[in-house]
Symmetry: C2
């Protein structure tokens, strides 16, 4: 493949192989900042989904947002579990704290609804597998909300890697940091290990973890991790994490994540015949600078800003409407939780932990 081809029609939706009619009606479960600021606008801007129900612990406070996005029903969690207004939605988007993903995803599956569930899929492998099993048993689709897998710069990078543009990938570096307390109070559930399942690793580290697995198309065989916390609001979780993955191809990925550092993200892959560096791969709706070196060739490209949340919901909607298995499925979410559990075991023991 010529490098130029990768950048031609950069934002193409290569996953949309057919035209489809209709939309998937969504109940959004958990109306936190991300749901309000990114998901609802992204769904509204997209083609294949529409929001028909909001599920929240404080229905009264959600009326304004329901009006803004023309959503007919606002219900609480008990009503959701009881199946209220179930006839008005086809699928759910679960955006509650991680430890409650299972509860709502499983309730939805038992109502016969398809599930798009935020990452990490749950707080343990065991609970995540319950989601997978229940969705399978009820014949509904399950997608883990790895929106990066629908981001054009990541999809184009995967094509380049799979087409051998940089040879065999040898080493990956991935980093994602974010000053959490500038955006949320210290009481956030993200700093409560019971609700979050961990700290920077599960909230931010999962981005380079999942994206590297996706780009390499293979699984890690071992993981090593170091965690640090300065105490205070971060006392109960990993404020900073550095983890190293080994892959079956002998590639390694050196990844870091931090809850308490300058906002930054970076992904770089070095192969036997080239490299690809993406600036701000995990950073939201920003121009995507990508540098590709392939043998003697070097190309720089700045992709247009793309709302990967819109892409994600359209991809999910397309999958449901066409009965296509989503690529970031439940097993994808479970695989990351295997790596995360092993990483915490490694940080605890100071040993490389093998993944099976």
């Amino acid at each position: 493949m010529a490098l130029e081809d990768a950048f031609d029609d950069f934002t193409r939706r290569d996953w949309a192989e057919t035209t489809v009619d209709g939309t998937v009606r969504l109940a959004i479960v958990g109306i936190g900042g991300f749901a309000r600021n990114r998901a609802l606008p992204g769904i509204a801007a997209g083609e294949y989904c529409e929001t028909t129900v909001l599920v929240t612990g404080s229905p009264d406070r959600a009326r304004t947002i329901a009006e803004e996005f023309d959503v007919n029903h606002v219900i609480d969690y008990d009503a959701f579990r009881a199946g209220d207004h179930a006839e008005t939605y086809d699928a759910v988007y679960v955006a509650t704290p991680n430890a409650t993903h299972g509860e709502y995803a499983i309730a939805a599956a038992e109502h016969g609804k398809h599930v798009l569930c935020e990452k990490p899929l749950e707080t343990t492998v065991e609970r995540a597998e319950e989601i997978v099993d229940t969705c399978r048993d009820n014949g509904v689709a399950l997608m883990t909300a790895y929106r990066l897998q629908t981001e054009p710069v990541v999809r184009r990078t995967r094509e380049l890697v799979q087409n051998g543009a940089i040879g065999t990938v040898v080493q990956v570096h991935g980093a994602f940091s974010h000053p959490l307390l500038e955006h949320t109070g210290p009481e956030t559930w993200r700093l409560d290990p019971d609700l979050a399942g961990g700290g920077a690793l599960v909230d931010l580290g999962v981005y380079p973890l999942n994206t590297t697995r996706y780009l390499l198309g293979c699984e890690p065989t071992a993981v090593y991790a170091t965690t640090h916390s300065s105490g205070g609001p971060f006392a109960a979780v990993d404020e900073h994490v550095a983890f190293q993955l080994e892959f079956s191809t002998d590639a390694t990925a050196s990844c870091t994540a931090s809850f308490d550092a300058h906002a930054s993200s970076q992904l770089e892959l070095v192969g036997t015949n080239g490299k690809i560096a993406i600036a701000s791969p995990f950073g939201g709706v920003v121009p995507q600078d990508i540098v590709v070196e392939s043998g003697e060739m070097r190309m720089e490209y700045t992709g247009p800003p793309v709302d990967e949340v819109r892409e994600e919901f359209d991809y999910f909607g397309y999958c449901v409407l066409t009965d296509t298995d989503p690529e970031p499925d439940g097993a994808d979410g479970v695989a990351d939780l295997h790596a995360i559990e092993a990483a915490y075991e490694s940080a605890e023991t100071g040993r490389r932990i093998d993944l099976e």
Copy 2:
């Protein structure tokens, strides 16, 4: 410090605090590719050193290069050990295979000559410490040839870090890869563990290792490493290495090096209030692109290409002429060997190894 100040007079030699007369006369011990192509021209272009003796196993083959650089004497290793022409040089530059650094550095010290010794200082901590002890006992200067410490982009970065421009450093990523066999045959001593002391880690990984220690101004407390080799010419050494350092400040450095990958180098520091990324920090005489983010400020700067080999020899000459202790001294070289030995032990055992 305002960011602009860091980029003002970027290539200034902040180490040159006084004017000095004269030059240091050098014997170059080991006339390999680096000595011929980088050291001899760098010394000739600089101010404070001149080459007066070449020491080589094949004096006849070095006559042409001696003529080209106006060097009066070419002697073999036996003659060097015997002290031939010792009155014509003040210091030596040792650029032989790593396992012979000690032999020639110690001989030079015993002749009363100052020593600039290539990195790694030797192949083991024990042998490196012999060099340090002998130089101390003979009252001669010892500098480990970490030329990056004289490279303006690295010195300006250290100033920024020390002045708090990015807050407390939390995470470092460093990478250096190079397709060795495109530049040398498979018979190179760099692939012989007895002569080199290791593979990609000692030859390339030492760059991000030493540079990170230099920039942070503190020592690693633990190391973890993974090595891989595909066999063939790389069978006896680490063809690829990924290592993670923990520092006393709780910062981590995630570093990689490879003998068999696309030529690439990268260094990135993320702190609590900013980040610094240097493109191609270890890549020779190339423009030095540096991006600094400090709070809401962002600056990009491309430093002019600087021959850091010339800088290194001028720094060494200046130190000798002014009786200044070189900053990259013998202890600096020993510290890296401690980390390297621990990294290999970690790769062997799959455990984090504490450094004392």
